[in-house]
């Protein structure tokens, strides 16, 4: 079974989650758990979700981003989306994520 891996990196007050593979409802469940676990422990000031290695994403990915956004905001942190490939960026635009200031 394909797994959706995520690699974490920390620097200063940032936690970067490098997402890899395809994001759909199936893979988002596991990603959510992994990211929330790391965030709960580290409480980073900025959570960076790096999409450079994401080859496919449907609207489950938007749900994933929004859920993490609320999560970090609940303790005063912020979220930033980094390096979305064109198709992922299109999905984010459709979701109106530009207005959130996370892009």
């Amino acid at each position: 079974m394909p797994v959706m891996p995520v690699i974490f990196e920390t620097s200063d007050c940032e936690l970067t989650a490098l997402l890899q593979g395809e994001i759909d409802h199936h893979t988002a469940a596991e990603l959510r758990e992994e990211i929330d676990r790391a965030v709960d422990i580290l409480k980073p000031e900025v959570l960076v979700l790096d999409f450079s290695r994401v080859g496919f994403m449907d609207s489950s990915g938007i749900g994933l981003i929004m859920g993490r956004f609320q999560n970090v905001r609940s303790y005063g942190g912020s979220l930033r989306v980094a390096n979305p490939p064109p198709t992922v960026a299109r999905m984010m635009r459709l979701a109106g994520m530009g207005r959130l200031g996370v892009l």
């Binding site: 395809e22 496919f56 449907d58 609207s59 489950s60 929004m66």
Partner: protein, 151 residues
């Protein structure tokens, strides 16, 4: 009805509503669609729309159970692909409301954007649904054919 137009090729797929099948379903439709010689972007559009429809069967139609999902696709001489995704799940009480962007009954991890994505990534989307009977979503897209196949 487009009844008299016969597809150049067609396929049918029946899968249980397990979330691991989301990637299989969109990849299968994309592989079938390759016969139309679509661009990568056109392929991604259909993959994304199919992923949304299949996910809705898994997450909403058969929320607490596993049911069957029927996927039928046809490609036509004029470069159209038509994909139908059908479930016999709970049905949608108010389709117009469900199609509104951001509307969801799925809780905080759902964006409520599935129908908006299907609509914007295809040329046409229709939804037929009856409470207690199930839902059928039909997606249609014409790909710009760069050259025509002879066979």
């Amino acid at each position: 009805m487009r009844g008299k137009v016969i597809p150049q090729n067609e396929m049918k797929l029946v899968i249980p509503s397990r979330s691991a099948n989301e990637s299989f379903a969109r990849a299968a439709v994309a592989a079938f669609m390759a016969q139309l010689d679509p661009t990568v972007e056109e392929m991604t559009d259909i993959k994304t729309a199919v992923s949304e429809a299949v996910t809705n069967c898994i997450v909403h139609a058969y929320r607490d159970t596993i049911g069957k999902i029927w996927i039928e696709a046809g490609i036509y001489d004029d470069g159209r692909i038509v994909v139908q995704i059908k479930d016999k799940g709970c049905g949608i009480p108010d389709v117009a409301q469900a199609r509104q962007p951001l509307f969801t009954t799925g809780g905080s991890e759902r964006a409520g954007l599935g129908f908006a994505v299907m609509e914007s990534f295809t040329d046409r989307m229709t939804v037929r649904s009856a409470v207690g009977k199930g839902t059928t979503v039909t997606l249609e897209k014409r790909v710009a054919q760069r050259y025509r196949h002879d066979g």
